[in-house]
């Protein structure tokens, strides 16, 4: 299986990515590979640089140093839409749904890449996109809500809609920013099923998650970030049992200020 592959063959790889804001070194030289068919969890205290790392990969932020590759092709310096077209899909912590569009249109929009007046592929292409959208709605359990507006959905449904957009985009690399936060147990299990069926197809998934139970449940690997660096990487069991990492994560090492930062998420 994919575990046997070297990191050179990972669909997404980055090396030495760095970015600072003013005097703050948000990401300080991160090297990471996302293997196909695996869920890699990015774990770390608030302000560790997890979302900034996503933004550096997707081109939403320009890296001060370092490079990222998608299937061997360097993507540093590309615009977000160009990175997306190489098969990198991302979700946002604040979801960013197309609020005044219907659920179906939200998902259809994810299948339509051309910014031109019409999409290529004619009627056959349109049928294929519609089918992909319907399949994504079916998989996320939103089919019965297809004609509702995104803004009228309940919280869990909104989260699944942001996932349906990614499913419909048919990307091979998913970057998910806190996709499971706020989901109840049943929803979380549906979410886990979605991830597993994606990894079975060979999708490389990276997710940011604060709930360590969820991390243990969902991930195949963990990369532990602290102060902009990957300080540990490995299988969930060894990372989650490491007392030194737990001390960082639960803030023992820090002053009380970090407890306040924790609640902000």
């Amino acid at each position: 299986m994919s575990a046997a592959r070297g990191s050179n063959e990972a669909p997404l790889r980055c090396e030495g990515l760095a970015r600072s804001f003013g005097g703050l070194q948000a990401v300080a030289g991160v090297s990471l590979a996302l293997p196909a068919g695996q869920v890699t969890a990015l774990v770390g205290p608030n302000g560790a640089g997890k979302t900034t790392l996503f933004n550096l990969i997707t081109g939403n932020l320009r890296a001060d140093a370092g490079t990222a590759w998608v299937r061997g092709q360097p993507i540093t310096g590309l615009k977000p839409w160009q990175v997306a077209r190489l098969g990198v899909a991302r979700s946002f912590q604040d979801l960013r749904l197309f609020t005044h569009m219907t659920v179906r249109d939200n998902v259809l929009a994810a299948t339509e890449r051309s910014a031109w007046f019409w999409q290529p592929g004619g009627t056959a292409g349109r049928k294929r996109r519609l089918a992909a959208a319907e399949a994504a709605l079916e998989a996320t359990g939103l089919a019965s809500l297809a004609d509702a507006r995104a803004i009228d959905l309940a919280y869990a449904e909104r989260k699944f809609l942001s996932l349906a957009r990614i499913l419909a985009a048919e990307a091979e690399i998913w970057l998910l920013d806190e996709p499971a936060s706020g989901l109840d147990l049943a929803s979380r299990m549906r979410f886990a099923d979605l991830l597993r069926s994606a990894t079975r197809r060979g999708v490389a998934i990276c997710l940011i998650e604060h709930n360590l139970d969820v991390v243990a449940e969902l991930s195949d690997r963990i990369a532990f970030l602290d102060q902009g660096r990957v300080i540990a990487e490995g299988d969930p069991q060894s990372i989650l049992r490491d007392p030194a990492l737990a001390a960082i994560y639960f803030g023992d090492r820090h002053e009380p200020a970090s407890a306040a930062a924790e609640t902000e998420a």
Partner: protein, 291 residues
């Protein structure tokens, strides 16, 4: 009376095109341009010059006007790519002010304050033709085009950009290209309206392309209903027939019609924004703060 109604209908068709195209960028893409009259003016001057210097062929005038207004729409697209919301409103306001000054000063092209006079009556392939049927045909075509674009993938792309630009980009949409195209299409349409206007009135000057007219077009769209197909047209009919209706009121002195009209339009917009923020035709639930 027939001539009067025919004139009113022509005005409705021309401003209907302006409202429909402004609605396209305002209602779908969320680009709040207060400079639509600039592109109306560009088209009018272009159409007038074609008629004066070359041949008063209405189709040729419309095509040249659309090309010039559409091409120069980059002046509007560039700020739209960089800034949103109130910042873009300010940028388009600046464009409107610069354009009016240029219209008044560039005498060789625009005739200056005096404008361009004696524009010959329009023809179509050498045959004299009224502006009204051409304007109605153009209006129908542009309504059809905006409806098709708005309901298709391009409309979804624009709405997606309006609702969450970064998410649209993250799904592979070239936001800059989509905005530039939308603005180009809308401004080219305004150019067509300008050429028809020049041939209809046979006289154009800067007075018709001031910010007042940009605001009037915006009022037509907002009162009718942004992001709807028929709303802008209904807004146009209402706002253009209002002065005509007021003129028929025997107790209202002709000199007061303008002031009363302003009050009615202003009140209508205020009340609409309170009770029907999405306009007369718009979706009732939109724009309210309950969501």
């Amino acid at each position: 009376m027939i001539a009067y109604l025919s004139n009113l209908a022509t005005q409705v068709a021309i401003f209907g095109i302006l409202a429909a195209t402004l609605n396209f960028i305002l209602g779908y893409a969320g680009i709040f341009s207060i400079a639509h009259a600039v592109f109306f003016g560009l088209g009018a001057y272009a159409g007038a010059q074609i008629a004066l210097l070359l041949v008063p062929d209405v189709v040729l005038a419309c095509i040249v006007a659309a090309a010039i207004a559409g091409g120069l729409s980059l002046c509007l697209a560039l700020p739209a790519l960089r800034v949103r919301g109130e910042y873009f409103v300010a940028a388009s306001l600046g464009l409107q002010m610069v354009a009016v000054t240029l219209f008044a000063e560039l005498k060789p092209l625009t005739g200056g304050i005096g404008g361009l006079v004696g524009i010959p009556l329009p023809t179509l392939f050498g045959v004299p033709v009224g502006v009204l049927p051409v304007a109605l045909a153009a209006l129908a075509l542009i309504l059809l085009a905006t409806a098709l674009l708005a309901r298709g993938s391009f409309g979804r792309t624009l709405t997606a950009i309006r609702d969450a630009e970064s998410a649209a980009e993250a799904l592979g949409k070239n936001v800059a290209a989509a905005k530039t195209l939308a603005v180009g299409f809308a401004c080219a349409g305004a150019g067509v309206a300008g050429a028809l206007y020049a041939l209809h009135t046979s006289f154009v000057n800067v007075e018709s392309f001031t910010m007042d007219y940009s605001v009037l077009m915006m009022a037509m769209v907002i009162i009718g209903g942004t992001g709807t197909l028929w709303g802008p047209l209904i807004g146009t009919v209402l706002l253009l027939s209002l002065p005509a209706a007021l003129a028929f009121l025997p107790f209202l002195p002709a000199t007061e019609v303008g002031a009363v009209q302003q009050i009615i339009i202003g009140l209508a917009m205020t009340l609409l924004m309170i009770f029907r923020p999405a306009g007369l035709v718009g979706d009732l639930s939109r724009g309210q703060t309950t969501a």
